[in-house]
Symmetry: D3
Subunit: 249 residues, 6 copies
Amino acid sequence: MRILIVNPNTTEALTSLMVETGRVAAAPDTELIGLTARRGFPYISGRAEAQIAGAIALEMLAEAHAGADGAIIAAYGDPGLHGARAMFEIPVVGVSEAAMLTACMLGDRFAIVTFAPALAAWYRDCVAIHGLVQRCAGIVAIEQSFSSIVDVQDDNLDALVALANWTITDKGADVMIFAGAPLSGLASKARSRIPAPIVEPIAAAVKQVEALVALRPRKAATGSAARPAAKASVGLPPSLAAYLANADA
Amino acid sequence: MRILIVNPNTTEALTSLMVETGRVAAAPDTELIGLTARRGFPYISGRAEAQIAGAIALEMLAEAHAGADGAIIAAYGDPGLHGARAMFEIPVVGVSEAAMLTACMLGDRFAIVTFAPALAAWYRDCVAIHGLVQRCAGIVAIEQSFSSIVDVQDDNLDALVALANWTITDKGADVMIFAGAPLSGLASKARSRIPAPIVEPIAAAVKQVEALVALRPRKAATGSAARPAAKASVGLPPSLAAYLANADA
Amino acid sequence: MRILIVNPNTTEALTSLMVETGRVAAAPDTELIGLTARRGFPYISGRAEAQIAGAIALEMLAEAHAGADGAIIAAYGDPGLHGARAMFEIPVVGVSEAAMLTACMLGDRFAIVTFAPALAAWYRDCVAIHGLVQRCAGIVAIEQSFSSIVDVQDDNLDALVALANWTITDKGADVMIFAGAPLSGLASKARSRIPAPIVEPIAAAVKQVEALVALRPRKAATGSAARPAAKASVGLPPSLAAYLANADA
Amino acid sequence: MRILIVNPNTTEALTSLMVETGRVAAAPDTELIGLTARRGFPYISGRAEAQIAGAIALEMLAEAHAGADGAIIAAYGDPGLHGARAMFEIPVVGVSEAAMLTACMLGDRFAIVTFAPALAAWYRDCVAIHGLVQRCAGIVAIEQSFSSIVDVQDDNLDALVALANWTITDKGADVMIFAGAPLSGLASKARSRIPAPIVEPIAAAVKQVEALVALRPRKAATGSAARPAAKASVGLPPSLAAYLANADA
Amino acid sequence: MRILIVNPNTTEALTSLMVETGRVAAAPDTELIGLTARRGFPYISGRAEAQIAGAIALEMLAEAHAGADGAIIAAYGDPGLHGARAMFEIPVVGVSEAAMLTACMLGDRFAIVTFAPALAAWYRDCVAIHGLVQRCAGIVAIEQSFSSIVDVQDDNLDALVALANWTITDKGADVMIFAGAPLSGLASKARSRIPAPIVEPIAAAVKQVEALVALRPRKAATGSAARPAAKASVGLPPSLAAYLANADA
Amino acid sequence: MRILIVNPNTTEALTSLMVETGRVAAAPDTELIGLTARRGFPYISGRAEAQIAGAIALEMLAEAHAGADGAIIAAYGDPGLHGARAMFEIPVVGVSEAAMLTACMLGDRFAIVTFAPALAAWYRDCVAIHGLVQRCAGIVAIEQSFSSIVDVQDDNLDALVALANWTITDKGADVMIFAGAPLSGLASKARSRIPAPIVEPIAAAVKQVEALVALRPRKAATGSAARPAAKASVGLPPSLAAYLANADA
């Protein structure tokens, strides 16, 4: 099974980190193919950037989807997810969506812990869009600084663990999600220091795509996940334009 | 990986049907072990029976959980699920919970189609308890009769398909769930007749337990999914009483 | 009027305490009949135990309902309530349901104050199932220990009062509910120390059953509160099995 | 026990009808005292009139509350309820509030059936203000005409019954409420023709006030139901002005 | 364009303050006409008083609406708004409604900051009635005292600013609303001390009425905002009675 | 006042139609400047296209915002709105947001009527993101075909009017919104045929931007609407990249 890990950002180190973290939980015959955006931002910090990166995710999928069995939008906040789900024949899952739905099977309410306050409003949108407000105990962020985006989790491990534990005692969180690609792999490091189950988002996403591929549901031919009618466009990247222009492609 | 399919009803034919249906989607190394209740009802039709069958599910798990890697509460409505999740160390997933969460990755809103109006209020509770009201386009039931519980899906295939299609056109459903153990396996039969993806509940549950086992989250030590403190009891089945009496067992 | 106070736990002292507390508010011609479970737990601490105790409540009612005018599920969290409401011809009210609905007539939002954090997730379910989330200012628990379940309220009176007052100042609670059978009778002790009205749950339940009996609504013949169709069973207590087997009994 | 039935409309026949209907369910020692507005409208048909009639209800209570044990705002939609609850020391219950809360103990979801479409938006507000949207299966109105407000129920019995039955089959209603003072007493006439329990609003209100009086909760000294601070006014009816001017009166 | 600023309280200084504050944002050709209640309270502090003042607002509009192009209910909590909107042909907007809807275009969630805790429950109603709970980060009040109602904002500027800033850091508020007529004009004074946009309620209301007048939507002839059918009354102020008596007036 | 009407589609005729429709309601000194996307789609039909067009809207604003006083995202569904609101110093309003918020002041619940079923899921997202689900009576679409996107409203006037009237009688809608740029100007044509007020979306958006400009709230320096920190990028259009790279630009 070939699963695309679509990182709509330009930082290859984050793609590698996610592929590596996802591999730990993947089935033996699952091949994870990391894709890093060739244009866009080193990291998405909010809704404006997510708007742009979501469009880039669609470009990346238009180019790479052939031959894949499923795909993951590998940026927390799931930029471009609903569009991708509708456009492509293969299952597409968002890393935050997968983390939250998986968390729902481990306890009543999950907390989302992240590393920058600016991410909060965007993640709040994400919880709301997925209809999971009732299952969310809170969305919290440390305020510490960090030396570089790839060092965030090591620079701030203690603060992240402390904040996670605070959501348990003060917000009644039952399950923990460390959100944001730079926190990939943190679940295993924090495991012994937090008394609640922790969902590793990219690993959860890999398992959820594997599940959808195994279940083999038909592609929606109607409704919100159906492929849009063929449409002409101007000035879009060629693969994307070609795919959108031909509903049968 | 050994997964228990805990059917809290007494009809072995339904257990077999679920094991067989689940096997189609299971990983090669997954062993599905069907358990049929030795006491209780041939089939659960509502909340009173679910109250009783949920307690029976806990008895069954107390007896059989050792050596298993995960378990499925294999009756729609998930009787006993939250209790089981808290009590046992292994992941426990409900068949309706798994179907709904899986459906969330295939479209905005799922419909639940079942075979008896009496099931509706109970399933509505189930959607609400899982916090998924916003994702549910409707819960509907045919009113036809059937010769026996195991023949329900064949006796009523056309009516079920028609009702499912009605939820698409009239309720805006994007994804379909045929709910109730007797409808296990219906997804593949109806696939060509319904333009939306259909989630096969027991198959989805197998994949979700496999996912949780692969992710290896720690058992909750606090919160709503933590194991209850040891407690004495009177008059409960011996395995259940022993398990509850010793928090370290 | 004969009202059953069905304590689905095995501690007779709690049954007595509830009967006695309920009597203060009962009408002159109301007879309160306390029933203590012959099997189960000395006290229910969460969802697993409530699953089992709820089934026991149905057994108790199957045995004792004849000749009664109404019944109260006398354990906070209302284990077995919806099943009992459907199964029996007489009105059945839950002690938490009655407390919350009564509180709604005394102010905008009630707080639920209890004596063990483990009860919180279960009580949260209870508020949600009754559709009263919007009316609930918070569910809080002291963390103190206690010498025995019947001494909880005396051992912790000051802490419970302080916590209740905190829900007023910090959560905007307008009405107070001390939840849990062991806190029966606390309302009168705390009355002078809390500036909000306090609802005594078992007393509220007695009044609500009296109200339903006086109003004499017909038994539902359809919908979520209708009696389930007759159903065979195996291995259930004889009274319960017989009642379930014969819809006309 | 002296309970005021405060009809904030000017039609004495409706007051009489409500007193008479309430008496059937009242306790032997309960005295129901009907009060009819001396100014205002013969009947309230919407929010503008309810705004005015709610203020009149406060005037009526300021004049009549002394010596009473409790009061009912006896117009569906509960005009003036929250103000009255805060202002007076005695328990005050709204007839729609009482009907809905009582209905909650008889099934999952109630329908509200009334006799004029113009009432719907106002009643929808009422359900929302009481936080009971989740418990409401629908608010529906017949469109027939009627010869006079007191003849509404007899002129339209068949249509009202048919509409009520439609809410059961099409909206999943479990319990029925016929709303509006002119429909007082309809519950008993329709009982044999509707397969769901019917709550008689004024009777439910009588029982709920009796319950609150028996429970003897203290008056709120803080929060949304606390008595407002003393306040001067100009041009209000003397009893009302005097009461508001003196917080200790 | 002639816009009525209907202050349903008797304090002319507040009317003047609101007219003056509204004028800053008004279009050049907008004439703001302040109306002060001739009966009622110097200031509304809660739901009881709002019930009465809302009826007074309708009296004031019945008398003054002729020749006006639009009107503002100029007391926070919008007493009488829905009745007024239905009764009159001209657009009527509430000052709190306008503030909240305008705030929605400046950020995800607004906070409401006011000067007396007693106002909170009433304002909470107001947010709920307008269906904006999801957009509201919190409703908070200072507890300081003040020398007179018109001096509230100057006596408490620092405390109000501090509380507003707290809703940003602790509640995630994005936009600020200082609520209550006595706080009119505070937005500009606090502008440099709060890092979020502040909506000046009366100014927002002026702009919203101007917008509605410019858009020229037809008056509703059906539904919740349609003019009530003509109705006789007794004992109401003559202008109000006459207007209500004649649907064509 | 210079207001940009940012049409993120490539059809100039729709831009012209919107500018012309908006002009009718604009203030005398308001200049409406229509901008048509130079790349993208002739018309957006769903979420995939909105993802891309939203990014294009940000490009257009990055290029054109200097010298403008405010801007409108002039495609129903508000693609790119939240990103634009955060990025730019000038007020930015979405045409659907403005229509819905304005509709809230004309009645309890609005209906959204559009011309293609595929738009429904996307518009449903839009209502949810703005937190206005409770105010929305329904989202409906005709299923007729049309000769070209600019002829939609003339080809289908009768069907659109009939559907709008159906939402009034069957869904309880109080206010009407015809959604989609191709329906601009329909409000005035349908006015005499629908008994509810109709909001013209682009006209409402013009008035709302005018209102925000007149109110002069400060730009958020914190929270969900604050400008993102400066960020480098690769491969984005130069104006957009430059703007994002320099938080002080």
